[in-house]
Amino acid sequence: MVVNEKIAIEHGLKKEEFEKICNLLKRNPNITELAIFSAMWNEHCSYKSSKVHLKTLNSKSKKVIQGPGENAGVVDIGDDDAIVFKIESHNHPSFIEPYQGAATGVGGIMRDIFTMGARPIANLNSLHFGSPQHKKTKNLLRGVVQGIGGYSNCIGVPTIAGQTCFDESYNGNILVNAMTIGLVNKNKIFYSKAVGINKPVIYVGSKTGRDGIHGASMASAIFDEKIEEKKPTVQVGDPFTEKLLLEACLELMVGKSIIAIQDMGAAGLTSSSVEMASKGKLGIELNLNKVPCREENMSPYEIMLSESQERMLIILENGKEKEAKKIFDKWNLDFEIIGKTNDSKKIEIYFNNEKTVDIPIDFLSESAPQYDRKWKKTKLPQKIKFKKDEFKSLKINDCLKKILSSPNICEKRWIWEQYDHTIMGDTIQKPGGDAGVVRVHGSKKAIAASVDSSANYCYSHPLTGGKQVVCESWRNLISVGSEPIAITNCLNFGNPEKEKNMGEFVECLEGINDASKYLEFPIVSGNVSFYNETKDKGIKPTPTIGGIGLIKEYEKMITMDIKKINNHVIVLGKTDGHLDQSIFAKEILGEKKGPPPEVNLFNEKNIGQTLLKLHKNNFIESAHDVSLGGIIVAISKMCIKGNKGIKIGKLKNLMNKFEFFFGEDQARYIIEVKEENLDKVQDILNQNSVHYDKLGIIMKNYIEIENEPKLSIDELKNYNNNWIKNYMVN
């Protein structure tokens, strides 16, 4: 078939890109070759709009074993143990078919982790849905949650944390980001770089079907009215087969037979084979007649583009084929030698004894287009001057109840009780805390993990927002008593061809990078999802940060539930009462403008590290970071969890009490301290120049604020716990 410009454009290539292909090849590609180019030059695989910016990311520290560029990042946690982790988006498929889209998203990220030889030990997810009133939201929420649970529960990996947000900017583009954490011996990590010629190339896992053809290009396409027609490309996940694949791969990895291994994710066989060859600067030769197919008469085009799930490509040592096949036979998985490596530096594909593809690997990787797209800076918005009488008619307790039961603040138990969060027997902090925590099996260590995003802050001022998300992740990890180690990021943005969206991307990334450097919190893996846009309406910029921290002795983990009556409660960090962009401004005052709270990296680092010092001395009974909703929401959640109340002391200065209680100033934590440690705690805080305010003293059943009606904890609990349940059943 002769390929012309029109066909190329239908495959998502630009006119100039097609010309470039013809020039490189010095001929027109055939249809299979075009398919391969379109897949590899697609935004999803080539990172053509983001690469120039991603290159600048801070990805180094003493603990980083592998930064960006592999299937996942790897960090050292001592004693030969290493943690492999990454986050990935599955936004577009989840909007089209929430159950399968979310399920295959989880499947995909887990494969990225066990490809490297790690056993997955925890999953996390970050979800953004449209407004609760939008007609699609409820079904999307149910489908996504069941899809995530359906897949990870079946595999048997606990889902230990996550986040769920609602905002109308996601009405036509929900975000489903899935993260997996794996544990590996640091001397037994597997990579995707092919080494050596004449090595057998092995296909294992499920058979190849016609599913997901054009999935990768769909992931980079803007949704339009024709979205319905794109539906048949949705893949169906088979978690059972993935579980077998996981066990089989880990079994094979015990021996020394694997040279390189790569999962078949986006753009399936195409990207996996090209990437492996490209990293090894080798050539690869494939015989597509050997590929196990689920359906009859599949063409090379279909085989190369198929995104059937639960498949892997392995480059094996010569002579190990039999031994390897035995393992995959045991697990009832397909195993086929489909080609070999060579030194041609080309990808050559045969079908029915004919060479159907002949492309130098460099053309697909190095020569892929890269764009330094135009972008626009976002100015810091003017601060809102709230008028005194706006607050006059308001009552603290009414505002608190409303906020506690608002979609973005309410407890998400309805979601995480549908996830198996205790399997593997090492979950010591369940969802619902600041970070999920799992023990490193058989040791004293534990890993804390959290996923965070702050789309409102990022939308208002991307640079500040980008910094803030990293800080939020850092605080969540500190709050459970872990030492933050590294982060992964999932950059969900709109259309990069628009200057505003590209600017949001560039500036968020700059903010992320600044914070990452300052906090020595390197970025070791990630993923970019552009074109989250429907009918010209883009999402708010939503970089999601997945952070992990190390707890050296798990017995010393901190939780946020208030422990004991008569203990003292202290707020670390200064409260200025920043209400712009706060939940309070949105939910109570209906005000959406203004700048996000300022991020001071020095304070973040100093206060976080001081909290860990206090913790080392066993001075902290409970802790929680202050984030959305401010001090009053934070202390309410601590009280609800601990089933106790607090008597809040007089406010020191003449501050507006709404600003004090609901302001969202950054770099703050609430800690609970025993009376007998109070002086020593204050000494340490003073020595480290940490500003603090005493908030009050723990008591029974009520939150008491001067000149305000008492607030019963049981009542607050009801407000906090029921929104989502009621929403889902009604």
Binding site: Q146, P239, F240, K243, E417, T422, T427
Partner: protein, 227 residues
Amino acid sequence: MKSSVIIFPGSNCDRDMDVALKKFGFKNQMVWHNEPEIPKSDLIVLPGGFSYGDYLRCGSIAGKSKIINSLIDFVKSGRLVLGICNGFQILTETGLLPGVLQRNKNLEFICKNVFIKINNNSNSFFNNIKKNVLKLHIAHNEGNYFCSNDELKTIEDNNQIAITYCNSEGLSNEENNPNGAIKNIAGVLNKEKNVLGMMPHPERMIDKYLSGDDGSIFFENILGNFK
């Protein structure tokens, strides 16, 4: 004391069970589902998970495994068999236990702590447990126990209902029933009381840093019977 944990393709609580059994003093072995024979054991455990992906009906395909014949012989010999969650489903599918486990009433997977009341303690699984109510953990999609009225009468007459869902005070009623199981049943015994199937996962509750440690009481009791 020797125990064996049978692994089916898709089992995923096998390791957790191994850890628990060893912690409480069993010499445990892992046995692959198509081994012709089970090694010498005092206790066989069918662990939780999603054998064969829960496809067709939970436990149905595992119920056709090669090893099931030796399992049946083992049961006849009077030694102990314990099925947790998916293991329970396999035991009902093979007919070693009465009834079936259907989708949870709310059609949602449920992972949370529950209380269970010991209904029959004259068997080797619960005999010396002092507490009447235990806090255990469930994690399942299909735990809604069902059997016909006739069968229900039979298992009641034979005192085969081992445990029921309840509240912290031991009150069994619909409110404390997480999945819609008939008579709040959380676990049943066979007629001879040497086979127990239960939905809760005691192996996830074996130290105080986890969701709780009442699972320890359960394992210690079984082991005690062999001392």
